[in-house]
Structure formats: structure tokens, C-alpha cells
């Protein structure tokens, strides 16, 4: 395995740790406030914060896998 592969694995581990930390903090802060959302308060009138979290996690995971596959294709 090349040095680049190990660097990518470390970068992905840091990224996943950051993802977990951000999501857990966001959920903690959301629990502290309860509002009746409306079309003037949600993003674009309908995008719920759960969708942010899902898209964020999906993007980071898919991109991490892509990055590892890309590095493996080099060797």
C-alpha cells in the first residue's frame, strides 16, 4: 500500500469523526429549542433540518468511499 493510501485513510477517519461531532452537536442544540415551523422559517419553505443531516452524512460517506477507490486505482 502506498503512502497516499494511508493519508487518504487518515483524512477519512478525521472527516468521519468531524461528521459525528457535528451531527451530535446539531441534534443537541435542536433539542433545546422547539418552534412551530412554517414556510417562512424552513429553508426554501419546506426543507427540514433532518434533510440537511441526511445529505451531509450521505455526501461525506459516499465521497470517502470514492476517495479510497480513487487511491486504490492509482496503485
Amino acid at each position: 500500500m502506498s503512502t497516499l493510501f494511508y493519508l487518504v485513510v487518515i483524512a477519512n477517519a478525521i472527516s468521519l469523526g468531524f461528521l459525528y461531532m457535528n451531527l451530535s452537536r446539531f441534534r443537541t442544540l435542536l433539542k433545546k429549542s422547539h418552534f412551530e415551523e412554517s414556510k417562512y422559517t424552513l429553508l426554501f419553505g419546506f426543507v427540514h433540518p433532518g434533510i440537511y443531516q441526511f445529505c451531509y452524512a450521505l455526501n461525506v460517506l459516499v465521497f470517502g468511499v470514492f476517495l479510497i477507490l480513487l487511491t486504490l486505482s492509482f496503485s
Binding site: L4, F18, S33, H34, F35, Y40, L43, Y52, Y56, N59
Partner: protein
């Protein structure tokens, strides 16, 4: 007459027992437009590079190209995290109008935690600004709150549906029992 349930900390931290939320808003989505535009450009460039990747690899020095590809991917990973942090900041920063005060909260996940409160009795005047085509088409604007107690005024920018919030503040202020504003 039955006692009304206490509102203490019901909707947000620091809510007093008799305080009722009459309205709240987050900044208009147009503030996130630069972020979405950058994201769209990066995704298009990324797919273009990914599709032409074998040709690029063949036509360039492979070790240098590997370094560039790795560096670009790390930057993209950073941008993904940055985008979510910006979205979270947008969601957590709210302005709340209650029957007693206006509370302006600026909050991010880790770095910012600011809260400002304006007593409705100290509001002397509220001005609404909706200037330009964009603001009128997408229905956002600014509220300029002039206070009677200090020379410092409060400017609320990117307020969605500013007419509604202007009328709401005006209505609540009129309904206050002992107004000190002349």
C-alpha cells in the same frame, strides 16, 4: 378560571413563565445562495474531471497528477463540512418575537453563541426597507428598530416576509399595558 400552564423554557432556553412566542423567523434563504452556487460549480467541475480522469492521467505526469487529485479531493471534503456548518448556523440563528421582547440569537455549532434582547417597551419606531427588484420579488427586506433608551439602533437584515413581522411588532407593541414611549 384555570391556571395557564407555565411557558418557562418551553420553546427556548431563557423563556419566562408568562412569555408567549408570537412569531419567529430565520434569515431568508437568499443568504445561502452563494453557498449553493459554489457547491453547484464544484459538483459540475468534479464530474467533468471524474469522467475525463483516464485521459487526464495518461496525458500528465502521474505522480504530480496524483498529488493534485488528492489535494483537490481533500479540499472538496473540507467544503462539504463547511457547507453543513453554514447550513446549521442558518438553522440555529433565529429571531423570536414574544409578547414581551424581541430575541435575536446568532448561533453556530461551536464558535458563535450570541443573544440580544430588545424590550418592546423601549422601541420607539420601526422602519421597513424593501429596496430593489430582488427584495420585492423574493419577499425579503430589512427592519430598522429605533430604540428610545439608547442611541444605538438595531438593524435586522434578510427578514423574510418583512410586512408580516413589521405588523406583528407594531400590534404587540400597541397591546402592551404600560408603554413608556411618548
Amino acid at each position: 378560571m384555570p391556571d395557564q400552564p407555565s411557558q418557562k423554557d418551553l420553546h427556548f432556553r431563557g423563556q419566562s413563565p408568562n412569555e408567549k412566542i408570537l412569531g419567529f423567523y430565520r434569515q431568508h434563504w437568499i443568504t445561502l445562495l452563494p453557498l449553493f452556487a459554489t457547491f453547484a460549480v464544484i459538483v459540475v467541475v468534479f464530474f467533468f474531471v471524474a469522467i475525463n480522469f483516464p485521459q487526464l492521467l495518461a496525458s500528465h505526469d502521474s505522480s504530480f497528477f496524483r498529488f493534485i487529485a488528492f489535494f483537490a479531493c481533500i479540499l472538496l471534503l473540507y467544503f462539504l463540512h463547511h457547507s453543513f456548518l453554514r447550513l446549521a448556523k442558518h438553522h440555529l440563528s433565529v429571531t423570536i418575537v414574544t409578547n414581551e421582547r424581541i430575541i435575536i440569537i446568532h448561533r453556530s455549532l461551536f464558535l458563535i453563541n450570541e443573544m440580544e434582547m430588545i424590550d418592546l417597551r423601549h422601541i420607539q419606531e420601526v422602519k421597513i426597507f424593501q429596496i430593489g427588484v430582488m427584495q420585492n420579488i423574493f419577499r425579503f427586506g430589512s427592519l430598522h428598530i429605533i430604540l428610545s433608551t439608547t442611541s444605538e439602533n438595531v438593524l435586522l437584515e434578510f427578514v423574510p416576509n418583512p410586512d408580516f413581522h413589521f405588523r406583528l411588532i407594531n400590534k404587540v407593541q400597541q397591546a402592551l399595558p404600560n408603554r413608556t414611549v411618548s
